[in-house]
Symmetry: C2
Subunit: 573 residues, 2 copies
């Protein structure tokens, strides 16, 4: 909902003030709107765009060289007045006439139409350009009845570029109307927006549904359907738009994937991958496509796809430079192509030659990793719930992912004949890479530290295991910047390492020392208090008040115990 | 909430694909991130920025000449892995070293730190730059513990500009850390965001409250307070930030007013008017401030204000050209200053000399307008409720505003000696200008049409009243494109005009003819069926099913009746 305002009745006018104060390089404020602050030529047709407020970047964001000459801003979702439009039309006119561009809505048609009539009565050649791109609002046989949505941007861009060439008003309007004829949009809405000062949204969409073709002010759509996956949504939009491709079209299109306000950038980028694939499959060549928030509806959730079926006249105008607050074409810095990157991300690693003894050690490590991965798959949900009390609940998932990736990498390494050190390094990197986040990185450090005390030649002895444990602890504490008592995995790691290393150094058998170390880790993990106060603060009250063991310490103790079990079984076998 | 995705686990990676396919001029895709597609120089320090996904334009939107050399993208709200960071650092290095820029979060510190260590081990001079601008996350005495939020943008912009000069890595890091030292942010959150695939928001803020200092992942804030007005919110943010102004500061600041996702542009512009005023009062000179969505948190509702306390070293770097997908500095088109606009919006109108008789007619019209305005103030709520069943419920408000403005304008005109025609024209324009929207425009047309048949010389006779009514009807129907039966004010206007004009032309006294006309209008208004199906579709079911008179027709009938009452009183007086 719209939360930041003073007097809701002043919302649109105040927003206009704020925008003009932020963008003096682009606009100068006038009553009811803004005009360009900079010119490219003294005489040209003026493109004056506008409509209700609440749609930024429409319309103020599109005033500038190569685009609009002025914008007229009504109240939120309300047409500007005839007087306001006429006044700004007069200010924008530079002797070659004024084209008023707006979306095709009753109030705008009325007010821009009356303003144009009034200017013509004063001897200014004023014309109207009502954008009609929303195919959900009327059939192809009634194109002129369609609403204007994000297609505004494509039509205004082309009209602005045409005006910038110095063409006369008939030519500018001809090109703009050609773009208008060849521009189609379709949108879906997931949730309505709330007007400033209003308590309820302007309209609602049932949970889990999407309104197909729902307008940017909640105007009716064509149907209500279950919310679709990104690929199905792309198919819905692409198919409906391509159904209107004109005869003899050259297959090149401008595209605008528009977010309405609360449907965010990454969602649009995800959707774009499918839109682009499906358009490519249909043989469409995209020209400078745009994806982002270009015509919003306050905080409405939803998006729309617009296609402009280009031709040899329209394409250069779509590509022409422009410099408005919300749309720029052309480079601001001179550059040369970058050096081509050689991304060895996927390159398989060759392992140093390893001794038979070290490869046997590697096989034992591989078996331990298998037991750890199996245990973590089983405990994923439990660890997630534990973490959710303090953090964002992804610890179980991260540990499962990391351990599984480590096991797979270790298997590949073993298959390639890697020694103990190389195998454990591979496992460490794979764990960190797939688990992501903090715990993934910690486990990567931990296993890499341990590997540093092993070799690919000698058989890993108990002393190496002890030294590796100490090295792992040191690296985790240094880079993790955590001490015992910080309620992290370190709380369990330190007693584990101390017990294990001291036991081994005292000549205790590995299995026995490891068991005592695992028990010490388990005790410590159970003793860890709740999440740090800072982390706790934003969580549900339940999690703030009562204590819980730290998930990271618990999972370390669990891993230690699983390995202890295996070592004991080996000894008793 | 986040609705558009396929497999939630693939969300971040797919979003990265989509972005790279949309911006080939800016980036080339590599595993786990993107590197620049264009260069300005063959040797320079590489600025590699990154962190979790879900924050666009951070970080991909800031890769380009004058800004970042590459971005590393983790999963949503999760640090990228050490391996991924190290790999992209290697790709970005051009022999002068790599600065890793990121917000100060445990996972990022760990992974970027480990990656830098690994690169140094390989002979690449890699350094880390952890942005610490969020003053809510730690006190001034613990600046280094603070989180990084929208201050990332200011620090990265300055670091990127420094690297672009060809400076060595020590100098780039010195300037970047100086910007980091002098950058502070504070944010508020109104509502949490929802991770892809999640059913519940990551955190919640009680309705009507705002979390002050709440982090972009829901990290704890400093307090929870009732949501403030725009001016109070500005005061809260400005005061807290200025409290950290450094000694000896020259008073010049970069500012970033950042929307977190669902707090939209116009709200930020409204807030900006107060932020700018309050900073000006405090003697701060703003340098190229930015307001918009620069570091988001999916669809989180909230905003933050960032100040960078500039100096002679930092200011030119903040202003230096850059050309990234989400931030550009420098012009793309050559321009000259626009002609200064002469906005006569407020200029008082001089009226043509009017006859005594016409001024008497004007006085009668003024009295009618007074009665209409009084009635509409009284009926505002009722008309609003009626309209809400079919439209957006603003009809009562629009009519009240319009009639009140018309009355005030008519009073001014009468005071200036305007005749009947000029006074009614003034009232018409004022009505349309203040009421806004469709009904305002219609009433402007209606009254202007009526005025066209009056004069400032002759006394307005009954025949003129009839002719004016016909002219008003014609203009409304032509520009309003409405016919009888379209469920608009025309349904009541036409029988009103027909009855009135025919009665007068048949020699009936004005008062009697007007009364019958008003009754005809009332009958017609009551007969108007529900809103058109199209308008109905997106409204609550109740409104779709049952019928209601059209609010526009009803208000016309009410106005006609009020005037009828006055005419009858005059006659009986």
């Amino acid at each position: 909902m719209t939360r930041i305002h003073d007097d809701p009745e002043r919302f649109a006018a105040t927003a206009l003030d704020g925008f003009c104060r932020l963008h003096p390089r682009h606009v100068q404020r006038v009553a009811g709107g803004a005009v360009r602050a900079a010119e490219t030529r003294s005489a040209k047709v003026a493109l004056v765009i506008g409509g209700g407020s609440g749609h930024y970047p429409a319309f103020l964001g599109y005033v500038g060289p190569g685009l609009g000459d002025a914008a007229v801003c009504g109240d939120v979702f309300a047409s500007p007045s005839t007087q306001g439009i006429a006044r700004i039309g007069r200010l924008a006119d530079r002797g070659m006439g004024v084209v008023f561009g707006f979306g095709n809505y009753a109030g705008d048609v009325l007010n821009f139409g009356a303003a144009a009539e009034r200017l013509r009565g004063e001897g200014i050649d004023a014309r109207i350009l009502a954008v009609v791109d929303d195919l959900a609002s009327a059939g192809p046989d009634e194109r002129r009845k369609r609403r204007g949505v994000a297609g505004d941007v494509a039509v205004f861009k082309i009209a602005g570029a045409a005006a910038e060439t110095g063409a006369d008003i008939d030519e500018v309007l001809r090109l703009a109307e050609r773009a208008n004829e060849r521009t189609v949009s379709l949108g879906v809405a997931f949730a309505g927006c709330t007007l400033p000062g209003a308590k309820e949204p302007l309209f609602t969409v049932p949970k889990g549904q999407m309104g197909v073709g729902l307008g940017i002010h909640g105007e009716p759509g064509v149907s209500e359907e279950p919310a679709a996956s990104a690929s199905d949504l792309a198919a819905l939009l692409v198919d409906k738009l391509l159904a209107e491709r004109p005869d003899g079209w050259n297959g090149r299109a401008a595209a605008i994937l528009n977010g309405l306000g609360a449907t965010k950038y990454e969602e649009l980028f995800v959707l774009w991958t499918h839109v682009a694939d499906q358009l490519a499959e249909a043989g469409v060549t995209l020209v400078e496509p745009e994806a982002g928030e270009l015509v919003t509806s306050l905080d409405m959730a939803g998006c729309s796809l617009t296609l402009t079926f280009l031709d040899d006249e329209l394409e250069p105008l779509w590509l022409a430079p422009c410099d408005a607050a919300a749309m720029r074409r052309g480079a601001t810095i001179e550059t040369s192509p970058a050096a081509p990157v050689r991304d060895e991300a996927e390159a398989a690693r060759a392992f140093p030659a390893a001794s038979e003894a070290s490869r046997e050690g590697a096989a034992r490590i591989l078996a331990h990793l298998g037991a750890i991965a199996a245990m973590l798959r089983e405990k994923e949900h439990e660890l997630g719930q534990l973490d959710a009390l303090a953090g964002d609940g992804d610890h179980g998932q991260g540990m499962r992912r990391g351990a599984t990736a480590a096991l797979e990498a270790a298997e590949r390494a073993a298959g390639a004949g890697a020694g103990a050190r190389s195998l454990l390094e591979e496992a460490a990197d794979a764990w960190a890479d797939r688990a992501g986040g903090t715990s993934g990185a910690i486990w990567g450090l931990l296993l890499r530290g341990w590997a540093a005390k092993l070799s690919d030649e000698a058989e890993p002895g108990d002393a190496d295991v002890a030294a590796g444990a100490r090295e792992a602890r040191d690296r985790v504490m240094r880079l993790g910047r955590a001490q015992v008592g910080d309620k992290t995995l370190v709380d369990a790691l330190v007693p584990f390492v101390e017990t294990l290393a001291r036991g081994i150094e005292a000549g205790e058998p590995l299995a026995a020392a490891w068991r005592r170390a695992a028990d010490a880790a388990t005790q410590a993990a159970e003793a860890t208090a709740p999440m740090t106060p800072r982390l706790g603060r934003a969580r549900p009250l339940a999690a703030r008040s009562i204590g819980h063991p730290d998930a990271g310490a618990v999972s370390l103790a669990l891993c230690a115990s699983v390995v202890a079990d295996r070592l004991e079984r080996q000894r008793t076998d």
